[in-house]
């Protein structure tokens, strides 16, 4: 059965907002509630919305399994490489070595209550970003595989 045109159009309109909100939650993970997994789950909800509104063949034109697997692998690699980068900077694994004197995110965090500066917390925003796209890729791949499994059932 096919969803009505209203549902499909609304899902298409809503999908980019979902992605943007998810990325907002990911990027501000060190300041507001949220972070890698939560933002990634919001982004995957956007793709799930598209999957629910459209048939499997329509969706796989836009959201390919391959692209999502690359997202997942890239996210995992970003996470591990960030961990290894601590080793090469002379600190233990996963040490926050760019917090005060690295290139990005180097402002020290002010003590006590403050308005929150995005340019702080060193390694953490990178880790959040890695986890965010990994979760987006991972959850979407799970949904796509499960959907293709149902499709096989219908074919039989």
């Amino acid at each position: 059965m096919k969803m009505t045109k209203i549902v499909r159009t609304t899902a298409d309109l809503f999908f980019p907002f979902c992605l943007v909100f998810g990325l907002y939650v990911v990027v501000h993970g060190h300041l507001t509630p949220g972070g890698g997994f939560q933002g990634g789950a919001v982004m995957a909800t956007g793709t799930a919305l598209l999957l629910v509104a459209r048939a499997y063949d329509d969706v796989t034109g836009r959201i390919r399994k391959g692209a999502m697997k690359v997202c997942e692998a890239a996210g995992l690699l970003i996470f591990l490489c960030a961990g290894f980068s601590g080793l090469f900077a002379g600190r233990p694994f996963m040490a926050n070595w760019i917090a005060r004197d690295g290139a990005l995110f180097r402002t020290a965090i002010a003590h006590g209550p403050n308005a929150g500066d995005l340019n702080t917390a060193g390694l953490l925003p990178l880790l959040n970003f890695g986890v965010g796209i990994e979760v987006l890729g991972g959850l979407t791949v799970i949904l796509l595989y499960m959907l293709s499994g149902i499709k096989e059932e219908k074919k039989k």
């Binding site: 997994f37 006590g112 209550p113 799970i142």
Partner: protein, 118 residues
């Protein structure tokens, strides 16, 4: 007296949810419903973890524009988040198993999925 009961309310909820989850897992015959019971129990344990971190009159442990006062424990919240992620992965895997079992056995009744015996 009532305030102490109110403070203990999350823990009562945890016990109720665990009992409900166990009841569902033991009494239902459909595999997907059993997995729903498992998910209910996972939510109960997550609630227990978060409730453990509350301190009297505390606020959320976020520094951005925070009002004055003690803060609730943030480490248990990190534990809960990890547990939720593990729960998502477990549910995804178990539901995929349920789909494959349905395709191969033709039924989702747990009492008929018993080819392994002895």
């Amino acid at each position: 007296m009532t305030s102490r009961l109110l403070l203990a309310l999350p823990f009562f909820t945890v016990v109720v949810l665990i009992v409900l989850g166990l009841a569902v897992m033991l009494s239902k015959r459909n595999v997907v419903k059993i997995l729903m019971g498992l998910s209910l129990m996972e939510s109960a344990v997550n609630l227990f973890l978060v409730a453990t971190g509350y301190r009297h009159d505390s606020v959320a442990p976020i520094y951005t524009n925070v009002p004055a006062g003690p803060m609730a424990l943030p480490t248990v919240q990190a534990l809960t988040l990890t547990s939720i992620v593990i729960g998502v992965a477990t549910s995804a895997m178990l539901l995929s198993f349920a789909m494959v079992i349905y395709r191969k056995y033709g039924t989702t009744d747990i009492q008929k999925i018993k080819k392994l015996k002895g």
